[in-house]
Amino acid sequence: EADIYQTPRYLVIGTGKKITLECSQTMGHDKMYWYQQDPGMELHLIHYSYGVNSTEKGDLSSESTVSRIRTEHFPLTLESARPSHTSQYLCASSGRRPGNTIYFGEGSWLTVV
């Protein structure tokens, strides 16, 4: 199995709270990604990074923000959570070469009440 870890796995929070989803990988991968996925549905890329101090927005507009201060760490933050943010968030990483396999974490299930 791939060495990419997400915490928390499950989180229920109230509207307006600030949350940070943590993601760490021990494979030394340059590229990291955050996807949003509703149950049984397709994946939507919301953020990606090519390396330290590099972050880009993905295809799906998101109110979340990310940072990449260390190669192994790619946290996602929501400043003010809303019920519309309820979803599963998947972190992933890959090597720098095109066509490299993407490895996924186990996901963080977020419920905003």
């Binding site: 199995e1 990604y33 549905m41 890329l45 990606y48 095109p98 066509g99």
Partner: protein
């Protein structure tokens, strides 16, 4: 625009049967990479099989094999001797040399019945 289409939202077969999941894609790129990923219920997404477009030989991994038809832009996944543990969402995806992201299909939910 680069797209991936999985035309079967859901499929179900009996254990030990063979099942084929379809995937078509659209691209003008000459060198690209195709993937099938598996997402079991409440578990981690993992790579099932990978194919490089310049390789004519179809990729195989144990019970999993692909039928790669480059001219038709088709990349189907065949699962032989299906097992209960094959129950999952299956996603087809591709990337190309000048793009570092994957383009994903909508997924096929596969149910293996005992």
């Amino acid at each position: 625009a680069q797209t991936v289409t999985q035309s079967q939202p859901e499929m179900s077969v009996q254990e030990a049967e063979t099942v084929t999941l379809s995937c078509t894609y659209d691209t003008s790129e000459s060198n690209y990479y195709l993937f099938w990923y598996k997402q079991p219920p409440s578990r981690q997404m993992i790579l099932v099989i990978r194919q490089e477009a310049y390789k004519q030989q179809n990729a195989t991994e144990n019970r999993f094999s692909v039928n790669f038809q480059k001219a038709a832009k088709s990349f189907s996944l065949k699962i032989s001797d299906s097992q209960l543990g094959d129950t999952a969402m299956y996603f087809c995806a591709f990337s190309w040399d000048s793009n570092y992201q994957l383009i994903w299909g909508a997924g096929t939910k596969l149910i293996i019945k005992p």
